[in-house]
């Protein structure tokens, strides 16, 4: 007895009411910008926005997993820089492309796993463990490069950022792929199930026989992996790996996650919301640039948007608009 299509769709809408709210926020924002500046709604600009969003969006996937377990990861930006310079130096040393990419991903993942072990075995609060890693990864990247960027790569590598398939930039395709996989993992796999359960009630989950330490460590490892992936795309785009790359990305990723409706208390939220959250941030930046707003004022606007978005979310939750 399978539910028919309509019921299924209704069910989906009901379970994603919160994300629909964020989505309508994004649409309203787009509409306003379209009225204010006709250039906003051109295909080339929209693709530009999507591309701008990719790096934060990919980092924010890992952040969403972490926040769903009621944790936090402040190290994602620094790990991105570290993974970037490791990969770049592998490329410069003449390593084959797949190997260099793997080196970047592994570096990110290892940093993430170290975070996870510090939190689970070392019993450190996530805030402290990842704050430490933030500094260590950044410092290591700076020492490793002597503070100088590693620049100039082959066309093959740069194609990862400049290439297009049917006019869609490769990074956008990667981002969509990552979100599809993350959505699947969170809704259909054991890992996803346990991620929500740990964030919802760690003790009850432990008492249900779940190896909480293992899964938490894996989740931080994932956050590192996504930082490594973002490092690849960013390095390819800039044609340069910089030890100071990714500054403040952790905050943008947290903002995207929270605007997307994931609760900082854990156990509630999903990646669709995070994607919309990342897009909202990118659209906002793009629109403000098009309007010629100063970068100082931009910061004020973006900060206000984050606060207002969460205020609205909390007000709606209190009124029980959606569960």
């Amino acid at each position: 007895m399978r539910p028919n299509g309509i019921a299924l769709r209704q069910n989906f809408l009901l379970h994603h009411a919160r994300q629909l709210g964020t989505l309508s926020g994004l649409l309203v924002l787009g509409l306003v910008l379209w009225v204010l500046t006709p250039h906003f709604l051109t295909l080339s600009n929209l693709l530009n926005v999507a591309e701008q969003a990719t790096i934060i969006a990919i980092v924010a996937v890992g952040m969403t997993f972490v926040i769903l377990t009621a944790g936090i990861d402040l190290s994602v930006g620094s790990v991105l820089a570290f993974a970037g310079v490791v990969m770049a130096s592998a490329l410069h040393a003449g390593a084959p492309l797949p190997f260099a990419l793997l080196a970047g991903l592994v570096t990110g993942t290892v940093c993430g796993l170290v975070n996870g072990l510090l939190i689970t075995l070392g019993r450190l609060p996530p805030f402290i463990a990842t704050l430490g890693m933030m500094s260590v990864a950044r410092g290591t990247a700076l020492m490793y490069t002597g503070g100088r960027p590693i620049s100039g790569f082959s066309e093959n590598f740069r194609w990862l950022a400049t290439g297009e398939v049917l006019r869609v930039p490769i990074p956008v395709i990667v981002m969509i792929g990552i979100y599809a996989i993350a959505f699947f993992v969170l809704t259909r796999t054991k890992l996803g199930r346990y991620t929500y359960a740990i964030g919802g009630n760690e003790e009850a989950t432990h008492l249900s026989g779940v190896n909480v330490r293992f899964y938490k460590t894996v989740v931080y490892g994932l956050a590192g992996l996504f930082s490594g992936l973002a490092a690849i795309l960013l390095t390819a785009r800039l044609n340069s790996a910089q030890p100071i790359a990714g500054m403040m990305y952790e905050l943008d990723a947290i903002a995207a996650t929270v605007i997307g409706g994931t609760s900082l208390l854990g156990g509630e939220g999903n990646v669709l919301g995070t994607l919309i959250g990342a897009l909202i941030m990118a659209v906002l930046r793009n629109g403000l640039n098009l309007l010629g707003v100063s970068s100082f004022l931009q910061q004020v606007v973006i900060g206000s948007v984050i606060i207002v978005a969460v205020l609205i979310d909390m007000a709606l939750k209190r009124r029980g608009k959606y569960s």
């Binding site: 054991k190 890992l191 919802g200 432990h206 026989g209 156990g267």
Partner: protein, 495 residues
């Protein structure tokens, strides 16, 4: 020369959603007496005292202080009226000094709210001296032992010009020597004109210290008598003497072979626990709060570290070091606190049901949701869980239905040994009966049940055998025929 009582609480009732916690309770306190409040777990002692200290609001009834009706709005108001409470869990801030703790929120200040440290320490020293304590008032509270911390609380109460001091099981964490000191202090307070309401399970203390005693039972005041005119057996009779109103199913299981055996199990809170459990059996575990019942369940379930002794499941020695291992041995644990330990409230009914057994529905890391749904539907039907759908968040279910979800979790994981810790707490009468019937059905299918409960009628009504625990040890064992409320309670109380 009978003067008007200092405090008179009359016809006090308190309802919580679905529960009548206090039913027209009368309580009277004379000036300068030690009045013991006696009753089983859940008899309503704490609720009554929380109303007096302003933590709860009464639903109906009158409180008179010095013959004047008062309505106590909040804890601060109670303090202003001269009513202070020393809870079992002490309310001190460990990093502050003794003096700072005593005067927290009322620090003497010179100007611009700069605290006058010297006046603070002086006043504190004065108070401590009055209690016969020689500690340095500027020492951090965290360096003190429990008994000394309690004295700091007493000093704090005195500094508030307390007339009525409520002490909730003050001796539970103290050594014999410390208890003696505490009693000396209490006598001194009494001579100073303070009236004391003393909550305790320990009958010996009552006879040593008390002037009068009021017995509560099931939210009602049963009797108030002079300590000198009563006896232990009479008090025990007063505490338990109730009609068995609840309906327990006629047990139909036949008791089979041994499935679980503990030999000399010792942990930080348990000493030398040995017993065996058989298929189809309900083994009741009675005892007072803090007797080690929950610790026992946790040790069997791999939560508490086992220091010595051995657990045998189906005759084989098993090392149970984590809940996962316990589950693999076929053990299921229905925790005392459903909300914080049993369920993930933000997840759905279905997700909670399958939490311990997702593995069964998983291949290559992916959950087969159809298979899972089928299993969940089966348990929802079997247990008659009232929920609109599998996707309903479990937080929206009633207490009884939530408890059934927890039970379903362990059915789904195919447990053969169920540990129920307070299975019917916070559950309405109808659901209670259902849970009893489910336990009966489970045992008929060969499941073995360990049931920890503070409700004696439940223990007696359901168990094939009753173990009584006291201070981390097994103090007695009764067969269903031998077990009576008096015997079990006596065994749980006596040292």
């Amino acid at each position: 020369m009978e003067t008007a009582p200092l405090l008179k609480m009359s016809q006090i009732s308190k309802t919580f959603p679905g529960v009548l916690a206090l039913d027209k309770v009368d309580f009277e306190l004379r000036r300068g007496e030690v009045h013991v409040l006696l009753g089983e777990n859940g008899a309503g002692k704490s609720t009554l005292m929380k109303i007096l200290s302003g933590a709860y609001q009464k639903s109906s009834g009158e409180i008179e202080l010095d013959g004047v009706p008062v309505s106590i709005k909040n804890p601060r108001h109670a303090q202003d009226l001269g009513i202070s409470t020393i809870y079992q869990e002490l309310n001190l801030i460990p990093h502050l000094s003794i003096a700072e703790n005593i005067f927290l929120g009322r620090e003497p200040s010179k100007f611009a709210s700069v605290i006058d440290q010297r006046a603070l320490v002086r006043a504190a020293r004065e108070l401590l001296k009055g209690l016969g304590l020689t500690v340095d008032p500027s020492a951090r509270v965290k360096r003190l032992g429990i008994a000394e911390q309690q004295m700091v609380e007493v000093a704090k109460a005195l500094s508030l010009e307390t007339r009525i001091l409520i002490m909730d099981e003050p001796t539970s964490a103290l050594s014999q020597q410390e208890i003696k000191q505490l009693f000396a202090t209490i006598r001194r307070l009494k001579e100073g004109g303070v009236s004391i309401i003393y909550i305790s399970h320990r009958l010996e203390e009552l006879f040593e210290l008390g002037d009068r005693v009021t017995v509560l039972r099931d939210g009602r005041s049963v009797a108030t008598c002079e300590v000198a005119e009563t006896s232990k057996p009479e008090l025990i009779r007063l505490m338990v003497n109730r009609e068995l109103t609840e309906q327990f199913p006629k047990r139909q299981a036949t008791i089979g072979e041994e499935i679980l055996r503990l030999e000399g199990l010792t942990t930080s809170g348990l000493r030398d626990i040995s017993f065996s459990l058989h298929k189809g059996e309900v083994l009741g575990i009675a005892g007072l709060m803090g007797a080690g019942r929950t610790e026992l369940a946790q040790a069997i379930f791999g939560v508490e570290k086992i220091e010595a002794g051995q657990i045998y499941v189906k005759g084989k020695a098993r090392r149970i070091t984590s809940p996962r291992r316990a589950i693999n041995c076929g053990i299921g644990f229905l925790t005392e606190d459903r909300k914080s330990q049993g369920l993930v409230l933000r997840l759905s009914v279905g997700e909670n049901l399958c939490l311990p057994s997702v593995d069964k529905f998983t291949s290559w890391g992916m959950v087969d949701r159809n298979k899972e749904k089928l299993a969940c539907r089966r348990y929802i039907q079997e247990l008659r869980i009232r929920t609109p759908s599998l996707k309903q968040k479990v937080s929206f279910l009633s207490g009884g239905n939530q408890q059934k979800v927890v039970l379903g979790k362990w059915l789904c994981s195919e447990a053969e040994i169920f540990i129920f810790d307070e299975p019917t707490r916070g559950v309405d009468v109808g659901a209670k009966t259902e849970i009893y019937e489910l336990m009966d059905r489970l045992t008929a299918e060969g499941v073995a049940i360990i049931m920890i409960s503070s409700e004696l009628p439940e223990v007696l009504g359901m168990s094939d055998r009753v173990l009584v625990m006291r201070s981390g040890e097994i103090a007695g064992e009764f067969s269903a025929n031998e077990a009576t409320q008096e015997r079990v309670l006596q065994c749980a109380l006596m040292a």
